[in-house]
Symmetry: D2
Subunit: 424 residues, 4 copies
């Protein structure tokens, strides 16, 4: 299924007067409205291939209808999202869930929908059928050299797939860890991981990066070998300039100040990018901005100020990706909500007057510093997002459009009610 231009135009027709009123108002209230709209137009967030089906937990998975049955259908879904919000122009593949059998045709399909391929993701946390050695006790950190070798080779294969598709980065998340005290020698596990990553690093094309993710727990519940930003940073430093640290918002202990970590990684030139989601307890993988939208804003506040300080382009300076599953929502609607939440936080951060803020900071005027941030955050920037979408050819209200156009109904008609996408 693909959306036609006229469908989008028809939908916008009705919503336009109300949008214009709102946009005019906010344009009058906010100094840099035009600049914000332009930056929002340029800003895209990659969609992970595994988020297009209904995610589950160890207790069960409740699939919805019309889930994509193939890589092609996943690309089609991202195309639908992008057609609606004009903010999701790339897809991040997960190997082996989405092996592109015919890279050329896959690339052509994506290009036709205005999409390209973001970072590729390896998977050494599950055993695949016909896999020689098991990852039950880890992969890149494994005590057995031959298991490590198998995992290294898988990563290199993922790079190769990525090269064919035009990706420029390998994203590595390791489940490697331990469930019980004594199970691991932490130092050996770390050194094995480093050596394995060095082999993968060596296989990177010149213009590629490797992004090293960290996570404190799950699926291992005593230790994780790359458990926090410090451990990821240590590895990335030892690996070299092509390696940096990927921040998944759900991968932190309770109460972690994530925005401070983000700021310091940026300062050290080691912030690879983000896996966006939201959470209340652990790696809950909830819709971005659904639990703590102010934290998301605070992160973007650090990003905008920090990227400007380093002269990084907001749209391309680091990697932006969603990583959320969603047991109880339509996956496409969930992704539309997630992208919206990210762009709202970005727009709010763009409203912060960093000159005045810096001044307040230099005077320890804490009341004012808070007020500057909250003033930006309290501003209703949704009309700026709508305007950016409108100018880019998207719809004013994506979720509502998705429903009015009965997209899911059409997908169910095409694909059936009992399809299950690959993924968690």
């Amino acid at each position: 299924m693909q959306l036609e231009k006229h469908q989008i135009q028809d939908l916008n027709q009705d919503a336009l007067p109300s949008h214009q009123r709102k946009f005019n108002y906010i344009s009058g209230e906010v100094k840099n409205a035009e600049e914000v709209v332009k930056k929002l137009e340029a800003f895209n967030i990659a969609i992970p291939s595994w988020a297009l089906g209904t995610g589950g937990t160890r207790f069960g998975r409740f699939s919805g209808g019309g889930e994509p049955r193939s890589l092609e259908e996943k690309i089609e879904d991202v195309g639908l999202i992008h057609a609606l919000n004009r903010s999701s122009n790339s897809i991040s593949l997960h190997i082996p869930w989405d092996i592109p059998d015919n890279a050329a045709s896959v690339k052509a399909l994506a290009a036709q929908l205005g999409l390209h391929f973001d970072a590729v993701n390896s998977n050494t946390f599950q055993d695949q059928k016909d896999q020689a050695l098991s990852y039950k006790f880890g992969s890149l950190h494994h005590v057995d050299k031959s298991v490590r070798q198998q995992a290294v080779e898988h990563n290199i294969q993922v790079i190769n797939y990525g090269v064919e598709l035009g990706s420029k980065a390998l994203s590595v998340w390791l489940a490697d860890g331990s469930n019980f005290p004594g199970q691991l020698n932490f130092r050996n596990a770390f050194q094995n991981t480093l050596e394995s990553l060095q082999e993968i690093y060596t296989a990177l094309p010149d213009d590629w990066k490797v992004w090293v993710e960290y996570k404190p727990y799950e699926p291992n519940f005593y230790s994780t070998t790359i458990g926090d930003w410090g451990q990821s940073y240590l590895l990335a430093s030892k690996l070299g300039d092509k390696a940096s640290t990927l921040v998944d918002l759900g991968h932190h202990l309770p109460n972690t100040n994530i925005e401070q970590i983000v700021s310091l990684l940026l300062m050290e030139g080691k912030l690879a990018g983000f896996h966006f989601n939201d959470s209340k307890y652990g790696d809950d993988d909830l819709t971005v901005g659904s639990i703590n939208p102010y934290q998301l804003f605070l992160i973007f506040n650090e990003l905008v100020e920090g990227m400007d300080a380093r002269g990084l382009d907001h749209a391309t300076g680091i990697g932006w990706m969603i990583d959320a599953s969603h047991n109880v929502k339509d996956p496409i609607e969930d992704l539309l909500q997630s992208v919206e939440a990210i762009k709202i936080a970005y727009a709010q951060a763009l409203l912060v007057d960093y000159k005045v803020l810096k001044d307040a900071q230099l005077n320890n005027d804490v009341v004012k510093a808070q007020d500057i941030l909250q003033s930006a955050y309290r501003t209703d920037v949704r009309p700026l997002l709508a305007e950016a979408r409108l100018r880019a050819g998207g719809v004013i209200d994506p979720v509502s459009a998705f429903r009015k156009l009965n997209v899911r109904g059409e997908l169910i008609k095409e694909r059936g009610l009992k399809t299950v996408a690959t993924g968690l």
Copy 2:
């Protein structure tokens, strides 16, 4: 120091055109703007007497200048806050920090400033000079009957002070707990607490309430005898109808879903009210709304819906009080920010269309349910608050007014630079 009407009018004069533009816009966007403004006008939050000085930590306390040196000066400070925001028409006293030596004159002073006296708070977590027995090992839960008796009598004395001032509730927060396994027999500690509370309960005047606070830890770090809502609820149930549970937002373990607790306590008719503050780690006592404003909104969302369901008046149905200290801000500015944050959350909750929400819930339309809440939350309601203040005789922008009028400067002139208010 007292603010004159003309000072306030002069300040508003300049801010009026901008305010009108904003208010007109939001009135056009929001169906029930007028109703919201009226409810905001009626809504007041009590100021605790101990929040008017600079709070500290065990590591130190950095006082600011012009802190109130007496109960009268504390009342004066609340009068200033109320004159600015018209939302803080009562004060909550803490005995023995604020013993009213002459209740009649104290009451008259308060009345002149448009203030009355909210719940009175007892203190059995510190030893006072010339106190016969120590609270080192607790008070109402103490193994020694005579210590319990002393603490009971103190609470009754606090009630008596409150009666003189026109208060209608006693707020009991107990530090009682233990630092080490083995120190306490939990059952005995609970039973002793119950018996002590029963004695206090008996001493309550007919139209009084007792509010039982809970807190998981600090200043005891292994157990607290009234540690969670369940323990407070158990006590309040055994005590009777005049007893209910007070929720301090900072008194929860990491990741607690506070809004669910609030909803259930309301359902059971056992929600006394709130001590508002914000926190990232523990009982951080930060400015309300400074860390997680969405959570505050979600709590008000439960309150508005739940109070309406029980036919409770929003303004008077339960107790509203701030309990925040603030090491690095001017205490009055901090309180102005806190009141503002509370009223923003309240106004946002008033925008939720509960009929539509209920419909979404009945259809398990999670995407829509989230959208309804976030739509209310994303709305910039600050002009509604400003309008309510304006109508009530307050200022459009309280913090800015406080600064333009050089209130702190005046207070320092009157009181000196090195004053230290009683409190933590």
Copy 3:
């Protein structure tokens, strides 16, 4: 596979001299050694049917070999455990994973192995093939009456299965909750749950109990309808005397003082029993005692003192069950370690001199109170456990016996290498 008496005797022969030396020593050091051994002999912990296969996470499941393929084989596994440790004389079934098609023959098989049937567990957190209505949005709390009805009927069916097998309790754990703010009306969810439980309660035979479990999160990540002990207690109180609260050690927020909850539930006569496991982060379902054995001891310290105070028999006064999965261990070895850890904690608690402890508490002698507990805890009670096993016909060292007898090898021979037991 079944173990013969002579196999066990042969194994003990070698270990006996060393055991005798240790047991003699500890008998000389500890006043009540004989009493402890007797109580240990009487103490059994139920094995859940789902713990006999390798558990997994949402990221994968790495099965071992020789997992039981049927209810009969699960019973056989519990029989093996019991033959080794003489402490696991019952099995707790999970419906529909373990529907007993022929209750009489299943009962006979169990009886032959010295086993009976503990509480039966219902499952309304997963959809079963051919199930009419989905539990995607909950079961007993569902907005749709017909879904609630289906879940109620399932629970009644579980009771019926249990009656046939001689069980005396229904254990209810509900995944019901929400992932996003707005999804649920908390009050309605609670009231629906209460009504559903009342229907189930009505169906309980006279000598049955219903145990209501609580859990703060997972698989729902915003709210859980029975989220903490207070919510479970509230329901159990409204239901009546047959209802009480089941404590799963992993079902708490970070830093919760579980032993205090246990003590208060016992005091109120509402402690149903335990699901034992250990955890570092959330519901990690690790081997009991593998992460924080002192906490386990502190819980047993409350249990022994509190049950004695109520005159409850340790062995039968409340329900004892393991609920741990184990991705990286042989399930039977894991269960042997879990049972051992529970009995160690129990034995240590039996060493506490409660008279002296009470005296220290009454004198606020915190140093001594800690010392009394830690003295009991530091005592190496393993020879007391071994002696109890020996007297009861079990082996001195269960895990070592399991290995020497090559039990897993035999099971793989019988059942195959690629079997997967039902469960998580």
Copy 4:
């Protein structure tokens, strides 16, 4: 007050037969008993000068009697501890709480008691009377260069005091952080801290070290500028070889795997040493080993294995210090319990058979790996500690000796009932 040899001998006389029986038994059970005793004899833990008075919280401080009124009396108290346990042969001073006015005489007094001076600690988290500039908004990270300079100079002064006393390390704990989003620019705060530390680093004598402590929160409750091990490590790396990371056990977010951090810091040659205490919630500063003794053992398990791997002497390879306050215990008794807990954990770790453990790890035999650790941990090593004390001239049971000798009573006689030691 000082203890005489004969007092100690008399006390031991009575306890000897029972000790001999226990020691003989354990010597027979444990292969390396003699080696463990020798290592225990060599192992000392420094006592912080501020732990000799009763610590408090922001809610109050309940002093005991006979607290030391001067540096000399603090040294005397450490002398008493050391005379009893022969394991506390150094004291760690905190400036300005314990400025040695006459270094020579202070040194002589210490030497007479068998003590020397461990790391010196600076204090820039409180304002001192007559201090020119305030640390309200931080010290080494301050936006104002002149405040940073004042703090740098204070640290250099602390080094100078330390040089006079024979210390070899400066321990830096910074409270610097922020309470509210927006208050700080994280990068600038970090860079300012680095520059300040570089100045201090330059002032270090050749044979000195600087230990950089980290802490996630308190007394600042939004961010701390050196908030986790990664941030401390980053600073220590940039500073140079003399700088390393100090681990305070209470300075971590909930559920942190501290032992893994310890292992990696050791691996990188950046582990300075420890501030020992225990905690359930945050920086609770409870007696070491009172809450989670298994975690303490796991940390020592990493230390013993990791230090051996690097060829570090256990006693002197890194810094060992207690940092616990204790509201409800006699400070000296608390320190005796803390030292005992540390040495128990150390002794247990010495019992681990690392060869067998390594073998289990290489075979992913998780059950066995757990068993090896727990077997060491479950062993009652207290007789080994008593033997080491006995051989070194200390008492068999320190707390009991402290009481029998009525040490506190004597100190109260000498110093009075209402003394208050400097400190928190």
